[in-house]
């Protein structure tokens, strides 16, 4: 089989031995997993021992592209990092846009797999089929922007792409991000923490090669048709106001998380909206590679206390988590906070979550001024947020506790703080509410597959019951019309969520952004468009149902990875705070009433065992995961015998 659409190679890097090797992609694995997070999940399953310490040299960090990455398929500028997460101790995946993924393929590699730990700080340099490890002592201690500037200047290759960590990754903050092309964040799960543990400061990639399609003319036509469909979003919604576009609607719908998920309504929402950002701080729109939408905001606070240089920032998650969650309505301060997280390489979602948690703990007397070094942790005070960011990054004072993430921090503090520590499986809940947005999110967060509480990987499920958009999935069995977003059981929610995640997983597997999938079918990358693109690109016969089958295989494999780490039905829970009735606003009183009923329906739809939440043997065998089935069920059995 001729691998069209792929570079065809994996770069294996061993930092302990300072060795680099090139290997061919496995044709067999390509057929089963296609690429991206699917192929990476199989490597991690095969190579990582269960219960491995994520910060040990044995952990693997895989940078993964997919067959569509770097092509004319809309929004193809994608890089996924997969590893065992130091924050959650389960499967970790985190994605960034920019040009890194495409450049990696143009340089001749679909994947980089990195293991070991270097004695001294190093960076990995890749150019057109050539790779070497270089000393990075001069970069250690430098922030993300400084590091990127120095590398691009010294290498005299202005078109190269840099993925690097800042001080947060170096200092082993558990939610450190990997920053790509200055401001594009692979923020979640502590990918930057893993890089820091390996003493890998940066990866520089410059590629001048090409990607070929099996049927060039048909692929070109399919891509142009898809670009024209997706570009409808460029001048409205996401393209017009960036990801902040939805903030006002979410607020009016009672779905904007506020005050550490106590409420879902913010009086000052207008002040932090996408419209306000555009009027006052937007310099221009910036797109990642291949993207007709261009949600990126090149912004600046030009003067004053919160002055920043121009940078890409102020996206929705950052604004809610670093601002609204702590009752801050000063957009300049929030932009500054996001900027600091970007240059230090800190996940804005986890940082905002843990800061709001700290303020609440202080309010309740669980943390005192003695712990904070005299700082009064108050709601709505930007100084608190900016100071805590610095302390977390430096692991200084109270920052030492908060740098561990909200799960560990609450376990250490105790005294009931676990009840308002908003995470699932250790990953901090992002800026969408499991009660106020839709109950699909309650399932999504609780199951937490693959990576804990996440709104976007594998999909933003409320597209179905909040926005009532079918994304072209109705003809593949998506229950329609969707029920009220607050109804829990008996409304085919489990079945719907199954199909939604199988669709969403495709973005990570094929190596593209999730946003072009999440729109009405006349303007999205729906299954039919993806099938046409993949078939003409790779030459493989991939009908929509075939793509869904690969997704199902991948999602179940990631679940099994997590099961091997100890996940089962008893870990598919939501923290007390997000089960309780919402305190005020349009959705006042809404709570999660029957999580177990919803889980039953979802497990049933997935053919997962109702009692344990483990994918059934027969299901795994049907997916070609017989070996995986044996291992997870055997380990389950021995666990029970103990």
């Amino acid at each position: 089989m001729d691998l069209h659409g792929y570079a065809g190679k994996i770069l294996w890097v061993d930092l302990s031995r300072m060795e680099i090797q090139e290997k061919e992609l496995s044709r067999e694995l390509v057929k089963l997993y296609l690429g991206g997070t699917g192929y990476a999940a199989r490597i991690l399953w095969d190579m990582l021992d269960a219960r491995l310490d994520p910060l040990s040299p044995e952990n693997l960090l895989i940078a993964a592209t997919g067959p569509l990455t770097g092509t004319l398929c809309p929004s193809s500028g994608s890089i996924e990092f997969c590893f065992k997460s130091p924050l959650t101790r389960i499967f970790g995946e985190t994605r960034a846009g920019g040009v890194f993924g495409p450049k990696l393929k143009f340089a001749g590699y679909d994947f980089i797999a990195i293991r070991g730990r270097s004695e001294k700080p190093v960076y990995l340099y890749i150019r057109d089929g050539y790779a070497e490890l270089r000393d990075a002592s001069h970069l250690w201690g430098k922030n993300v922007h400084e590091t990127t500037d120095i590398l691009l200047r010294d290498l005299a290759e202005p078109d190269a792409s840099v993925a690097c960590i800042g001080q947060a990754g170096e200092n082993q903050v558990r939610f450190a991000s990997i920053m790509v092309d200055y401001d594009r964040a692979a923020g979640r799960c502590g990918g930057g923490t893993v890089m820091g543990a390996k003493r890998l400061k940066a990866i520089v990639v410059d590629g001048h090669g090409e990607i070929s399609a099996a049927k060039p003319e048909e692929f070109f036509e399919a891509a142009m048709e898809a670009i024209n469909a997706v570009k409808a979003k460029a001048n409205k919604g996401l393209g017009r106001y960036g990801t902040l576009n939805g903030l006002i609607n979410l607020n009016e719908s009672g779905a904007l998380p506020t005050r550490n998920f106590k409420t879902c309504h913010f009086e000052e929402a207008e002040k932090v909206s996408g419209q306000t950002l555009s009027e006052k701080y937007l310099i221009k729109k910036r797109a990642c590679f291949g993207c007709p939408i261009g949600c990126g905001r090149y912004v600046q606070v030009p003067a004053g206390e919160y002055q920043t240089p121009p940078h890409e920032g102020a996206e929705y998650e950052t604004v809610d988590m670093l601002g609204v969650q702590s009752m801050i309505g000063d957009l300049e301060a929030i932009i500054k906070a996001g900027y600091l997280c970007n240059i230090y390489g800190l996940d804005t979602i986890s940082a905002g979550n843990v800061i709001a948690f700290a303020i609440e703990a202080y309010e309740r007397g669980i943390i005192t001024e003695k712990d904070t070094g005299g700082i009064k942790l108050r709601w709505g005070d930007p100084k608190v947020t900016l100071t805590l960011i610095e302390k977390i990054v430096k692991r200084e004072g109270i920052g030492r506790l908060l740098a561990e993430g909200v799960k560990r921090a609450s376990e250490k503090l105790g005294r009931g703080s676990e009840e308002f520590a908003c995470h699932v499986k250790g990953l901090e809940i992002p800026a969408h509410d499991a009660r106020g947005t839709s109950k699909s999110l309650a399932i999504q967060y609780a199951v937490g597959n693959p990576r804990g509480a996440c709104h976007i990987e594998p999909v933003w499920a409320p597209m179905w019951d909040f926005f009532k958009v079918d994304m072209g999935l109705r003809r593949y069995g998506l229950p329609w019309p969707p029920p009220s977003r607050f109804e829990e059981t008996g409304v085919r929610r489990g079945e719907a969520y199954r199909l939604l995640i199988l669709f969403g997983e495709l973005a990570g597997i094929l190596g593209i952004c999730r946003f072009p999938l999440q729109a009405a079918e006349e303007e999205n990358l729906n299954l039919d468009r993806l099938s046409r693109l993949m078939t003409t690109l790779t030459g493989l016969d991939l009908k929509p149902q075939d793509l869904l089958k690969v997704s199902e295989r991948v999602y179940n494999l990631k679940r099994c990875f997590n099961v091997r780490e100890g996940v089962d039905r008893s870990s598919d829970r939501l923290p007390r705070r997000v089960m309780e009735p919402i305190a005020s606003g349009p959705t006042k009183g809404v709570r999660v009433e029957n999580l177990d009923g919803m889980l039953d329906e979802f497990y049933e739809a997935m053919s997962w065992d109702r009692e344990t939440g483990i994918p059934k043997r027969e299901k795994l065998r049907e997916l070609g995961l017989g070996d995986v089935a044996e291992e997870v069920w055997r380990s389950r059995q021995s666990k029970q015998e103990k």
């Binding site: 495409p102 291949g290 990126g296």
Partner: protein
């Protein structure tokens, strides 16, 4: 009337789709290096700009083997690949950095306006690239060149 390719630079988001469309159209592969249009992003400044041939013809005289001609229909520069020896003189002559050498073949890459139907224009999702009647295009060209006189701090 003959048409010209112009850019409305405020619209460009730096997505590179024009480059991929160009290489796909000419060579059936996706490559930003084999493209005849190049998107430049200045990270610390608000600049995302597609740089392409303005069809001035300075390169024609620089070619030692007369491999560069003008298409009488579109007014575009045409590189006769069978004649081109890859000497780089045209790349040297081009004041805009719009000409380059194909890394795969070593031959000169100069925009030929796709024979009057530019692929980059079709691929541009924000209509930053336009293929307009020369007289209309000139208005945009004047605006773009006036910006060279802008004082940038």
């Amino acid at each position: 009337m003959v048409k010209s390719l112009v850019v409305i630079p405020d619209r460009c988001m730096g997505c590179h789709l024009c480059e991929l469309a160009c290489s796909q159209k000419h060579y059936g592969v996706m490559s930003i290096e084999r493209s005849r249009i190049h998107v430049v992003r200045l990270h610390h400044q608000p600049v995302d700009a597609p740089i392409f041939c303005l069809q001035c013809g300075l390169c024609m005289a620089s070619c030692p083997v007369n491999a560069i001609e003008r298409d009488p229909k579109t007014g575009a520069i045409i590189v006769r690949e069978e004649k081109c020896i890859g000497c780089g003189n045209c790349v040297h002559a081009c004041p805009y950095g719009a000409a380059s050498l194909d890394p795969a073949t070593g031959k000169a890459l100069i925009c030929d306006l796709c024979g009057g139907d530019p692929a980059c224009v079709k691929a541009c999702p924000v209509d930053a690239l336009k293929y307009l009647d020369a007289d209309q295009a000139a208005k945009y060209k004047r605006i773009n060149f006036s910006k060279l006189q802008m004082v940038v701090k």
